[in-house]
């Protein structure tokens, strides 16, 4: 029998998930209504920093439809402290973080009281009758000022949480007598992740058991942490992440609202539900980025990097959330990027301010690092009069040098920066655009053209547990999978990786189809419920496919081996005489004699003829802990037109060539790249969580916090090179964060490149028309904007 088996891995399969999503049958947490369910509303502090002198909820308790109302004092004995799992140094200051403030509030938006009512309208109404007296304290809003001796204190122990340092090589020697030293300070503005689905929690008590549905990325981690925080036995907690509408890191959290929902359900003995509004979420969901980056490079006269020195201030906000202190450290290993150098030093101080806490946001530390190094590489190129791609080529690790251990101590297993760059250059028509740029500059055009380069890499597949341990992270980085072949030959795959838009159900089905020789349609992927999928480390850090996918491959391998023993009994041959070919076990040399997984599954179910010592089940589990990270890379090129008279920036073309290793589903990978680029462009041009001088977030709605719309973005040209990862059997690297990491510096580099002839060397993000215009004015205060014929149409505004 000859069958041509078409591989599923690599196919652009449309997604299994879509059927429910395009018809409105989705199971969002906010869709859940349980019998007797009450609604929770939280009262939040309007002050950035204040002492609470009294909270009176008595009037709220009397309000129509209200079941109960509580202040922080009511929970003081049982609410514990929200967890931080990443104490990055031994002397880190990790302040107590009560889910509901008891005596002090440290950011505007912190919870001070809760109402439980019959419906959401009644709960919201009753909040207005709660009387809270505050004694306002000085807000702490500026990281540098916060570290001054006289600064008001966010916490008793002061405003510094930690200083973490990494150093390798002789930095002093690298900088001593270096022909070129450049120093820059970049500002990573504060961002709001803005997943489209606001957070929601439903918690139902049954006796002493609790089920929580939450819009979370991390049902497994959440279950462990809820047990630790509340003292409720882990065995009595079930956490379900139903359909989750995006996360981008914002749902990689153990939140005050989740803990309080559990405590309220316990107190009241009935199901409770809380759903945030967007404006509530913008102050209460953790923010991302917010760093001041001082970066120095030393180079030889021809631009060879010698040393790199990075000094960071990272805003923790008011408290340390789940992995807050570790986020800038994920960048520590990425500032050196794809470049070779002799010495590197990284120093990061975590600072408390009276703002919403920060934590993971798509890329988490790596976009910040990539931005700083790619910005300064462009500046170095300009300083030396070298083409920025040429400068990178002089410094990058050549493809024949892999595996390569970097100055930051990571071993990059594979890569081909030459190939990705060559392809990007060609798709972008790099030389033609450079020519047009020169012509516009020579003509003094009011609409300048800039070309931005970003040759990024990132560390993905979080993470080898031993490395996490060495960085003082409180958990491991493995992932779990179970594969069950059902009697009829259909397959259930249980993954510990909890999807929220990534398409696991489709991609995992493709992997299993290949591994077990079953049709794609016959595979069902289960995830996101600790009762169904009891073990897992969840989804973040572009880890699902590299770590979770590998666990699936390993579990399939075990199933296959077991199937071999059963097939041998069925065919009355020795297992050694069988080979796995074309998706079935067949007799070597006699391929007509063979059994498919489906046939073997039914024989196992019937169990009439099981070989000695083989249990009658065709399923297996695997837990995979990676040895190394994976290192996707790529070259992104952005052409931006900048109107020097209005400051408006228009992205004219954008080319991304990414190398994410082997691609399981090109449709899904393309989508991740598109969305990632869009988010990075959002940071470059539009987004900023801005505070007023009293510490109030002034971008609390989507009318003020501008995430890009379809009209704001161009169409992207994307392509791939494929250099398989050597670290996992699939050869995959991860793609969830690549676009976001690469695109922000590509866009800002393009803007600065356009304006460099006018004396501009930096534009702070987001590069709004006003900021671009101001940068031009400040660079050339005497001559004003570039002279030349006025242009009515070329530089379209946003």
């Amino acid at each position: 029998m000859t069958t041509i088996v078409e591989h599923e891995v690599g196919k652009a399969r449309t997604r299994k998930e879509d059927a429910r999503l395009i018809t409105g049958q989705t199971n969002w947490t906010d869709n859940i209504t349980l019998p007797g369910q009450a609604h929770v509303a939280f009262l939040r502090s309007p002050y950035a920093h204040a002492r609470i002198t009294s909270v009176d909820v008595s009037a709220a308790r009397q309000a129509s439809g209200v079941i109960a109302a509580f202040s922080g004092a009511d929970f003081a004995g049982e609410q514990g402290s929200l967890p931080c799992a990443w104490p990055v140094t031994e002397d880190i200051v990790m302040p107590d973080h009560p889910p509901m403030a008891v005596d002090t509030v440290r950011y505007a938006g912190e919870i001070v009281a809760a109402v439980v009512a019959r419906d959401r309208y009644a709960a919201a109404d009753a909040l207005e009758s709660i009387d809270v007296s505050y004694e306002p304290l000085e807000p702490v809003l500026d990281m540098e000022a916060a570290l001054e001796p006289g600064s008001p204190k966010v916490h008793e122990a002061g405003n510094k949480s930690f200083t973490w340092t990494f150093a390798n090589g002789d930095l002093e020697a690298a900088f001593r007598d270096a022909p070129v030293v450049l120093e820059r300070t970049y500002r990573q503005q504060r961002l709001i992740p803005s997943a489209m689905e606001p957070r929601a929690v439903v918690c139902a008590p049954v006796g002493d058991e609790y089920t929580m549905w939450s819009a979370t990325q991390i049902p497994h981690v959440l279950r462990v942490m809820l047990a630790v925080v509340t003292g409720i036995g882990e065995q009595n907690l079930r956490v379900i992440a139903p359909d989750v509408g995006g996360g981008f890191g914002s749902k990689l959290q153990v939140t005050a609202e989740e803990v309080l929902a559990l405590l309220l359900a316990r107190k009241l003995g009935r199901p409770v539900k809380w759903t945030e509004s967007r404006s509530e979420g913008n102050v209460a969901v953790h923010h991302g980025r917010d760093q001041i980056q001082r970066i120095r490079v030393a180079a030889s006269a021809d631009g060879q990097l010698r040393g790199l020195d990075v000094d960071l201030l990272a805003d923790m906000g008011a408290y340390l959330m789940l992995v807050t202190p570790g986020i800038p450290l994920l960048g520590a290993f990425m500032y050196n990027a794809i470049y070779k150098m002799d010495a590197y030093r990284f120093n990061c101080t975590g600072v408390f301010t009276t703002k919403t806490p920060t934590d993971a946001y798509r890329g988490a530390g790596r976009p910040e690092a990539t931005f700083a190094i790619e910005r300064i590489m462009d500046d170095l190129a300009a300083h030396l009069g070298v083409d920025p791609l040429e400068l990178r080529e002089r410094n990058w690790i050549r493809h024949e040098e892999f595996p390569y251990t970097t100055i930051a101590g990571l071993t990059y297993d594979s890569g081909n920066y030459e190939a990705a760059t060559a392809q990007a250059r060609s798709l972008f028509h790099y030389d033609d655009l450079r020519k047009e740029q020169s012509e516009r500059n020579a003509a003094g055009s009011p609409v300048r053209l800039g070309i931005g380069v970003s040759t990024y890499t990132e560390m993905c597949g979080l993470a080898p547990s031993r490395i996490l341990g060495s960085l003082a992270y409180g958990a491991g980085g493995w992932e779990h999978a179970s594969v069950r072949v059902l009697p009829t030959g259909k397959v259930e795959v249980v993954t510990g990786s909890s999807a929220h838009g990534q398409g696991h159900e489709t991609a995992w089905s493709q992997i299993v189809a290949d591994e077990l020789g079953v049709p794609f349609e016959d595979v069902r992927v289960l995830h996101g419920d600790t009762q169904v999928s009891p073990k897992g480390m969840d989804t973040y850090g572009s880890r699902s496919l590299t770590v979770g996918g590998t666990a699936v491959v390993k579990a399939c391998g075990k199933v296959r081996e077991k199937a071999r023993a059963v097939a041998a009994a069925m065919l009355e041959v020795s297992p050694d005489d069988l080979e796995w070919a074309d998706g079935r076990w067949s007799v070597r040399g006699d391929p007509e004699q063979g059994k498919t997984i489906g046939e073997i599954a039914f024989a196992t179910f019937a169990a009439h003829n099981m070989p000695e010592g083989v249990e009658p089940s065709l399923d297996s589990d695997a837990t995979y802990d990676p040895d190394n990270f994976s290192f996707p890379h790529g070259t992104h090129l952005c052409a931006a037109e900048v109107d020097t008279e209005t400051g408006a920036v228009k992205i004219r073309s954008y080319v991304a060539v990414d190398d994410v290793g082997v691609v399981v589903n090109p449709l899904i990978v393309d989508g991740q790249v598109h969305g990632g680029i869009a988010q990075g462009i959002g940071q470059a041009l539009y987004e900023e969580a801005a505070y007023d001088s009293s510490g109030n977030l002034v971008t609390a709605t989507l009318a003020d916090y501008l995430i890009p719309s379809a009209a704001d973005l161009p169409a992207f040209t994307i392509a791939r090179t494929t250099t398989p990862s050597t670290g996992n059997p699939l050869g995959v690297k991860g793609v969830g964060e690549a676009g976001t990491i690469a695109s922000t510096p590509a866009v800002v580099n393009a803007i600065v490149d356009a304006l460099r002839p006018l004396g501009v060397s930096d534009v702070p993000m987001p590069c709004t028309p006003q900021r671009v215009w101001r940068a031009i004015q400040e660079a050339s205060p005497a001559s004003g904007p570039a002279s030349g014929p006025a242009s009515g149409s070329e530089g379209a505004a946003r």
Binding site: T14, R15, E17, D18, A19, L21, I22, T23, G24, Q25, T26, W28, D30, N31, T33, D119, R120, Y121, A195, M196, E197, P198, D243, V244, G245, G246, S277, R278, S279, A419, Q423, L427, G501, D659, V663, I668, D670, G671, H674, G675, G676, A678, Q679, T701, L702, A703, I707, S709, A710, A711, L713, A715, F716, T717, I718, A719, T721, T722, T723, G739
Partner: protein, 166 residues
């Protein structure tokens, strides 16, 4: 106040508070949870439905304003088989988490009713009131162009998928 409203072909007679938002009525009273809520300032468009055939953000309509109206939600769009836009969103991978999708599709229905053969720019402008955080809109634009009956044009107009090499 008493209202009568037809939702996805079913007639509802109800007594509602004047302040009740249509989206809350749809979700919590009529059980039509296919229409989600993404913001509270009418910016995101996730809750877009058709009211008498015209797209509205149901968070900015009071239920009493819908008295006598015909409402079509994402759950009432397929007529035995998927609507061409639903099919196109699936085929072009125009959704990831899917939270914006119901609103995006309903807004696109209205867009194509208005302009059956839009250019890429007209699609982008037409969907400006619907935010998506996952897709970068590229495949959404492709899907709308495809549903408009011009698939090849969609590919050409909305960026390239270049080949794989190395």
């Amino acid at each position: 106040m008493k209202i009568t409203v037809n939702i996805d072909g079913v007639r509802y007679e109800d007594d509602v508070e004047p302040r009740l938002l249509l989206v809350h009525y749809l979700r919590e009273r009529a059980g039509r949870t296919g229409t989600p809520i993404g913001c509270d300032t009418t910016n995101c468009g996730a809750c877009t439905v058709l009211m008498n055939g015209v797209s509205v953000k149901s968070c900015s309509v009071l239920t009493v304003q819908a008295d006598g109206a015909e409402i079509t939600t994402i759950q009432g769009l397929a007529d035995g088989e998927l609507h061409p836009l639903q099919r196109a969103f699936h085929e072009e991978h125009a959704l990831q988490c899917g939270y914006c999708t119901p609103g995006m599709i309903m807004a696109a229905v209205d867009l194509l009713r208005d302009n059956p053969h839009p250019t890429e720019e007209q699609v982008r402008d037409g969907l400006e009131g619907n935010l998506c955080r996952c897709t970068g809109y590229q495949n959404i634009v492709r899907a709308v162009m495809r549903a408009a009956g011009d698939g090849e044009h969609a590919q050409a107009a909305t960026g390239e998928r270049a080949g794989v090499s190395a």
